[in-house]
């Protein structure tokens, strides 16, 4: 009787702890410390480009401030369209506003014929322009930048 009582409580807490373990593994996955989780991309496949290569895109101003998107080599679409990678909810942005794409090891920003334009630092983007690390890209009320 006493044994079953204690046993049930122990199992109940075991469930909670198992759930917390899942939470912990997710925390590591989100902070980019993937090597810390065993069995997740074991060894190798590490970018050999050093720390100066852009690894993520960070929204620094605007409604989505704080959002991060990790860069994986695929192009990033920015605009109000639902299928954009970064969906802007901003009257000053166009449906398909700008695209960030990788050529070689560099990222290029390209304006897709937006109404209000895309600005790299202070300069208006007219053709594909290389984006250095930490330089703000302004789209409507949103400002994004690349970080390593």
């Amino acid at each position: 009787m006493q044994l079953t009582r204690a046993g049930f409580l122990a199992l109940l807490w075991l469930f909670v702890l198992a759930a917390l373990r899942v939470v912990r593994s997710d925390l590591y996955a989100a902070s980019g410390l993937r090597a810390a989780v065993p069995g997740f991309r074991r060894g190798g496949a590490k970018p050999a480009r050093g720390s100066r290569a852009p690894r993520q895109l960070v929204v620094t101003h605007g409604a989505l401030a704080g959002t991060r998107i990790s860069l994986e080599g695929r192009p990033i679409m920015i605009g109000r369209a639902d299928d954009s990678t970064l969906v802007l909810d901003d009257d000053y942005a166009s449906t398909r506003h700008a695209r960030l794409s990788m050529r070689g090891t560099d990222w290029y920003v390209e304006d897709l014929g937006s109404t209000n334009g895309t600005y790299l630092d202070r300069a208006k983007v007219t053709g594909p322009t290389r984006v250095p690390l930490g330089v703000p890209i302004r789209i409507g009320k949103t400002v994004i930048e690349l970080r390593s």
């Binding site: 009787m1 079953t4 409580l9 109940l12 989505l64 959002t67 998107i69 990790s70 639902d82 299928d83």
Partner: protein, 485 residues
């Protein structure tokens, strides 16, 4: 102070939205935890039967299998419809629901025993009905997953949802008491053989409305008005929606005599405003309104006065209105730290032991340690909801997810606070635990929406759709050709 704009909070609220190419779907984890939950629920049922009747029947295995089959179906639905959904939400909900079912069954047994001892008529069992409701709720859960393929489509129905929700919330208050009143609260809609609480569904509909409304009109609420004592007050006209919500919740309190719904509704509005604007002044204004409302309600309505009197000292009216709360407190005291053991306590003595007071029933049988584990399940559920809201990419999803997660957490706080005499008792149900069909069905719909949002948050971003092929003539370069001579 007083001007936290969206810029200031940038680094702290940072989250990764599409981690890695090979995002694990984690459906295996979910299935494993579900099996664990099924094992725990069967074990709880075995303990209840062993302590109550002293013999075990083979039916217990069937119950466990049926439980696993029900949630297995839900798991398959999630696997097919939302493969990247959060792996913890469904198992937590399943375990809470299972513990609730076992507890309701256990109180049925206790009440039947008591009826035999006192020579009364046998009360009807609540557990079979609740199992039926669980099946219906899981059906609706799957239906919501099928219908809402993308949570952003809900934003289009914002005003419709708001109108339907408002009608659902107000309807019981306006109908004659014979159609809507039970146990002192006018929150029911009696439809022949069964009755529902429309307020539970109104909660979700109004959440959808507020999320859609605030995303569209967010800028209005961040306009600074007059500056008083170094704090930017919002402009008076921007405060109208908050006052409307306040008036509505006072109306609910007056017409439906229901403290819980009124409190829950106002809390949700306030938190949604705060999440949308990130301005603490809204909380200050809202809480001031709340305090004024409390004082006014206390002086005007006797049912509020009764609740407060019982809260301050339940022993004032030992055999009358305070009796329920006193019995619950005694029950929890009997349970102590480790509880009396499943099936070994007397939780059935408390009136409404299986609905409003299920928390005290659980606390009596599994003690503080067990109740803490149950509360941890709620914490996990709410936390995963907030996490999904942080990680999802669109503002509507963020607001809706935050609101839904808050609604669950706040409701649990109000219920547990009421039962443990921390705040005045209200008539809310503990989500997933309490006996009651509407609450169960509505909360499963809520969880389906949370899973949908978490799926959108964890799903790796797909390649943009190829732009429609233009006619070749438009792409062809202009070439100068020499005019034939």
């Amino acid at each position: 102070m007083g001007q936290p704009t969206s810029d200031g909070a940038a680094p702290s609220s940072a989250t990764s939205t599409n981690p890695g190419l090979s995002v694990p779907t984690r459906r295996g984890t979910e299935l494993l935890l579900l099996a664990f939950a099924a094992f725990l629920v069967t074990l709880a049922n075995v303990l209840v039967e062993a302590n109550q009747s002293g013999e075990l029947t083979r039916e217990l295995i069937y119950y466990g299998a049926a439980y696993l089959a029900l949630f297995g179906a839900a798991h398959v639905a999630v696997r097919l419809l939302a493969p990247y959904a959060d792996p913890l939400i469904l198992p937590c909900v399943a375990l809470l629901n299972g513990i609730g079912l076992v507890m309701i069954h256990r109180i049925d047994l206790g009440q039947a025993d008591r009826a035999i001892q006192l020579g009364q008529d046998m009360p009807t069992d609540a557990a079979p009905r609740q199992i039926l409701w669980t099946a219906i709720a899981l059906g609706l859960f799957i239906a919501v997953m099928v219908l809402v393929r993308d949570h952003r489509m809900l934003a289009k129905y914002g005003y419709t949802a708001g109108l339907v929700g408002l009608v659902a919330l107000a309807l019981p208050g306006l109908l004659p008491a014979s159609l809507s009143e039970a146990n002192g609260a006018k929150i029911w809609l009696k439809l022949g053989i069964f009755s529902i609480q429309p307020g539970e569904f109104a909660k979700i509909l109004l959440l959808v409305f507020f999320a859609a409304f605030l995303v569209a009109k967010r800028d209005l609420f961040t306009h600074a008005g007059r500056r008083v004592l170094g704090v930017d007050l919002p402009r008076a006209r921007d405060m109208a929606p908050l006052f409307a919500a306040w008036g509505l919740s006072v109306g609910v309190l007056v017409l439906e005599k229901d403290l819980g719904t009124s409190l829950l509704f106002f809390g949700i509005v306030l938190v949604m405003l705060y999440i949308a604007t990130e301005r603490a002044i809204w909380l200050v204004i809202g809480l001031t309104c709340f305090a004024v409302g409390c004082v006014v309600a206390y002086h005007l309505f006797t049912h509020v006065q009764t609740r407060v009197t019982i809260w301050l000292d339940p022993f004032v009216d030992f055999y009358g209105k305070g009796n329920q709360l006193i019995l619950a407190l005694f029950g929890m005291g009997t349970g102590g730290v480790f509880g009396a053991g499943l099936g070994a306590g007397r939780p059935e003595l408390v009136p409404f032991a299986n609905s409003d007071f299920i928390i005290s029933s659980i606390a009596e049988e599994v003690g503080f340690v067990g109740l803490a584990a149950v509360l941890m399940l709620y914490v996990l559920l709410s936390m995963r909801g907030f996490r999904s809201a942080l990680a999802v990419r669109d503002s509507f999803g963020k607001l809706l997810g935050g609101g839904l997660a808050f609604a669950v957490g706040f409701q649990v706080f109000v219920v547990v606070g009421g039962v443990t005499k921390l705040i005045p008792l209200t008539g809310l149900t503990a989500p997933f635990l309490s006996q009651g069909g509407s609450s169960l069905v509505a909360n499963y719909a809520l969880v389906a929406l949370l899973l949908r949002i978490s799926d959108a948050a964890r799903r790796p971003s797909t390649l943009p759709k190829p732009r429609p092929q233009q006619a070749p003539i438009a792409e062809a370069h202009t070439v100068l050709v020499e005019r034939p001579k």
